[in-house]
């Protein structure tokens, strides 16, 4: 992230440090949310853990269930699920940071981060798209 900011030149650095809404900070937010809420289970590099926790790096599930992912993160998921041909059956809790569920903006940044990291590539999501995908998602409480 720092490298990216430096690439913009001195002015860019100042902008990155001082503007919380700056675009590169959004990537930064995705990484931060991941480290805080997900890495303990899915691993620092999205590698997963044996057949207990599915990987995110190179996971076919991400593309196959793209539209469902905002809701999956908001509500958590359990029961049998197949990722890259391996059957998992554990519990993932609803994503919460600082004891709050994630806003559509944060979900967008987080998903853009996991979908474009560790060798993953996907079209960037917009907040509007994520908001739309959340409309059918039962709320788990604020």
């Amino acid at each position: 992230m720092i490298g990216r900011c430096l690439g913009l030149g001195a002015l860019g650095v100042v902008a990155c440090l001082s503007l919380p809404g700056c675009f590169s900070n959004n990537r930064h937010q995705g990484a931060r949310l991941y480290a805080e809420a997900c890495a303990g289970c899915h691993g620092d590099a999205g590698q997963g853990l044996g057949r207990l926790i599915p990987p995110l790096a190179g996971a076919d599930y991400l593309a196959l269930h793209r539209a469902e992912l905002p809701c999956l993160l908001r509500r958590g998921v359990h029961g049998p699920m197949t990722v890259n041909g391996v059957l998992y059956n554990q519990v993932m809790p609803a994503a919460r940071v600082d004891d709050k569920q994630l806003s559509p903006a944060r979900l967008t940044n987080l998903l853009n981060y996991i979908e474009n990291n560790w060798g993953n590539h996907a079209a960037p999501r917009t907040i509007q798209e994520v908001e739309r995908q959340l409309t059918a998602c039962p709320n788990v409480g604020e």
């Binding site: 303990g40 289970c41 691993g43 853990l49 044996g50 057949r51 207990l52 926790i53 519990v91 993932m92």
Partner: protein
């Protein structure tokens, strides 16, 4: 919190040990942790120091085999406390222990013991499934154990956790209904606890990886024949 408090001196002791000798491979000895008892010698000679040992336990592993202090006597072993449906720190903790385990997966000098703190849910079948999913196929190398199904099994394992310097208790607020921290304990061939490591801190896990061979070398000195036979 008292656990953290306790870890600090343990850490300091370990650091001191690591720094005391210029040739680390020679004189380095891990400290013996826990309260020690000094008994005056009735014959007037130097007092005896009785070092604390790990608590006594009787458990059953994922293969249905009993695991006790006697099962593990003569070897080093590493303990942690977890439960199979733990949505909190367990994946990270057991992921870290897996990285310590891998190079020793077929090494009989050291065993791994993970106690479930949710014995009501974690039957032998659940423990076996958990072990398989983690990639542990030989129950004799890494025991996933339960203190049983009796009404007191839970209290038993909470008491054990305390004895191994970690904390475990039911807590409605905690993820999955149990509060616990992820301390690994390293126990020697004589049952003394020789190291405590915070599994959530990569530096601490690296310290365990460095200190385990130090302990194995010490044990080998005590049992020269056993080593020669290997």
């Amino acid at each position: 919190m008292s656990i953290r408090f306790w870890l600090a001196p343990a850490l300091a002791a370990a650091l001191l040990t690591a720094c005391s000798g210029p040739s680390a491979d020679q004189a380095a000895r891990l400290p013996i942790l826990g309260e020690r008892d000094v008994r005056p010698n009735p014959n007037g000679g130097p007092a005896d120091t009785i070092f604390a040992t790990a608590p006594a336990f009787k458990a059953v592993d994922q293969a249905g085999k009993p695991v006790t202090n006697q099962t593990l006597a003569g070897r080093a072993y590493i303990t942690d406390f977890f439960f199979a449906t733990c949505p909190g720190i367990c994946p990270k903790m057991n992921g870290a222990l897996l990285s310590v385990f891998k190079p020793y997966a077929t090494d009989p000098r050291v065993a791994f013991v993970s106690f479930t703190i949710d014995p009501a849910h974690d039957s032998l079948a659940v423990l076996d499934d958990y072990a398989q999913r983690l990639g542990v196929t030989n129950a004799a190398r890494w025991h996933f154990v339960t203190t049983g199904h009796s009404a007191t099994a839970r209290d038993t394992v909470y008491g054990l956790a305390k004895g191994f310097f970690t904390a475990a208790q039911p807590d409605k607020e905690a993820p999955g209904g149990f509060a616990h921290n992820g301390t690994f304990a390293l126990v020697d061939d004589q049952g003394h606890i020789r190291g405590l490591y915070d599994s959530l801190d990569a530096n601490e896990v690296a310290r365990l990886q460095k200190e385990l061979p130090v302990l194995l070398a010490e044990i080998a000195e005590r049992h020269p024949q056993a080593t020669a036979a290997q």
